[in-house]
């Protein structure tokens, strides 16, 4: 399995932000995207995960292969940690949540309502959801926000386990992830150039 992105142009609010992106991630490999704020990393990840339409270019894998984690974790405060995870496990048809609980050391918290968790604990729960999906491609946007050093290590371990199992991961961050072996790519050079002014066509620019 290999994730190939060719000549991808992504848009935000109808305006191209990154263009001509080519990248390839093969099984067992992790790629970290870097770049300054607002360059379009989130837009790129959402487009690759199939949540947004690409303006041009192709993504080789179907969205059915991918699990996406964004800035919001999709946690329901009134439900317990275990109920939150069980829900996603049954939506993705994978069943067991024990492995995910163990990976992020959520076992002791399993019966607590998710609303009572700290920010870091919520983030761990959000990341545990990725394990539960059973999808081979992890597309993650700023996964380690609000995690402490121990939790970052847990996350790195989870990603390594995922890669060892033949999965692949595409991450965007500007914080250290504790994944020294991961390839790093700067998206800065792909910043889209403004289109010509006089191109008064159907797309208005």
């Amino acid at each position: 399995m290999e994730l190939q992105v060719s000549d991808l142009t992504v848009t935000r609010g109808g305006i191209a932000v990154l263009e001509g992106i080519n990248l390839a991630v093969s099984a067992g490999e992790a790629l970290v995207l870097r770049g300054p704020n607002g360059i379009g990393k989130t837009t790129l990840l959402r487009t690759i995960a199939g949540l947004q339409l690409a303006h041009a270019g192709t993504v080789s894998l179907d969205r059915e292969q991918m699990a996406y984690s964004g800035h919001a974790d999709g946690i329901k405060a009134p439900l317990t940690v275990a109920e939150n995870l069980t829900f996603w496990a049954s939506v993705f048809g994978t069943g067991s949540i024990d492995a995910a609980l163990a990976t992020f050391q959520l076992g002791p918290l399993a019966a607590r309502p998710a609303g009572g968790l700290s920010a870091g604990q919520k983030r761990r729960l959000g990341l545990a959801r990725m394990v539960v999906t059973g999808r081979p491609v992890w597309v993650m946007d700023e996964p380690t926000v609000s995690l402490d050093t121990d939790a970052v290590a847990m996350f790195a371990e989870a990603v390594r386990a995922h890669l060892a199992g033949g999965g692949l991961a595409l991450l965007a961050t500007h914080i250290d992830l504790g994944l020294s072996e991961a390839r790093v790519m700067d998206v800065g050079p792909f910043k889209a150039k403004p289109p010509k002014i006089d191109d008064f066509d159907g797309a208005f620019l």
């Binding site: 995960a49 199939g50 949540l51 947004q52 339409l53 969205r63 059915e64 991918m66 699990a67 996406y68 964004g70 800035h71 919001a72 974790d73 999709g74 946690i75 329901k76 405060a77 009134p78 439900l79 109920e83 069980t86 829900f87 996603w88 049954s90 939506v91 993705f92 048809g93 959801r129």
Partner: protein
């Protein structure tokens, strides 16, 4: 799909707001109407089916913006969109959950509230039947409206403006069915039209709602 339904029901029960709020609102409407039109019991019994239908409709409207807004805010909707469920199914399940938490309690409570409005004895059966057939349409149409306004701040008012005109046929045939039965006229046409609207809406509108949601998630 069942997991999604169970989750939505569980959320509605735990977070409150679901069952309780709609019913309380329905009760308040029913209690306020006599203050507005006067304590004339024959007048009240004449307008009872209309008031009960309108109360149910407004109570239903009240909870519509919660169908997608919460899932949108916390990112669940994005995650659901990448899940191996077609969006049409998600939309239908959401509508079903809304009906179970809002519509069904209203149907069950309607006869009790009918007593407050002197609803004639002949009206109870047809009223409950018309609500039972009609309220699913309210939930499905409402889900369409909620999908249209999901990404908007202050979408609540716009949602009402968009959904209320779409409720007109259901309201007309629903209230008409109860009214005709009370007056001893044949309610068959209304019943058939109401059932027709509900089944057509359930069969077709989820496609429009899913299309709209797809646009909004983009």
């Amino acid at each position: 799909m069942i997991a999604l339904l169970l989750r939505d029901l569980r959320l509605a029960i735990r977070a409150g707001g679901g069952f309780g709020l709609g019913l309380a609102f329905f009760l308040i409407v029913v209690v306020l109407v006599p203050f507005g039109v006067g304590p004339n019991s024959s007048l009240l019994s004449k307008i009872a089916p209309g008031i009960l239908w309108l109360g149910a409709l407004l109570a239903c409207l009240l909870s519509l913006d919660r169908i997608f807004a919460l899932d949108w805010e916390d990112g669940s909707l994005d995650l659901l969109a990448t899940a191996p469920l077609p969006l049409e199914a998600i939309v239908s399940v959401k509508a079903l959950a809304h009906w179970l938490t809002t519509g069904l309690p209203l149907v069950i409570a309607a006869p009790v509230f009918g007593v407050l409005l002197n609803l004639p004895a002949a009206g109870y059966g047809p009223l409950v039947l018309s609500l039972l057939i009609g309220t699913p349409a309210l939930s499905v149409i409402g889900t369409f409206g909620a999908a249209l306004t999901v990404g908007l701040k202050r979408g609540g008012l716009l949602l009402s403006l968009l959904v209320l005109p779409l409720y007109v046929p259901t309201l007309i045939f629903g209230a008409e069915m109860a009214r005709r039965s009370i007056e001893g006229l044949s309610a068959q046409t209304s019943l058939l039209m109401l059932a027709g609207i509900t089944s057509a809406v359930i069969a077709l509108l989820p496609f429009a709602s899913a299309a709209v949601l797809r646009v909004n998630l983009r």
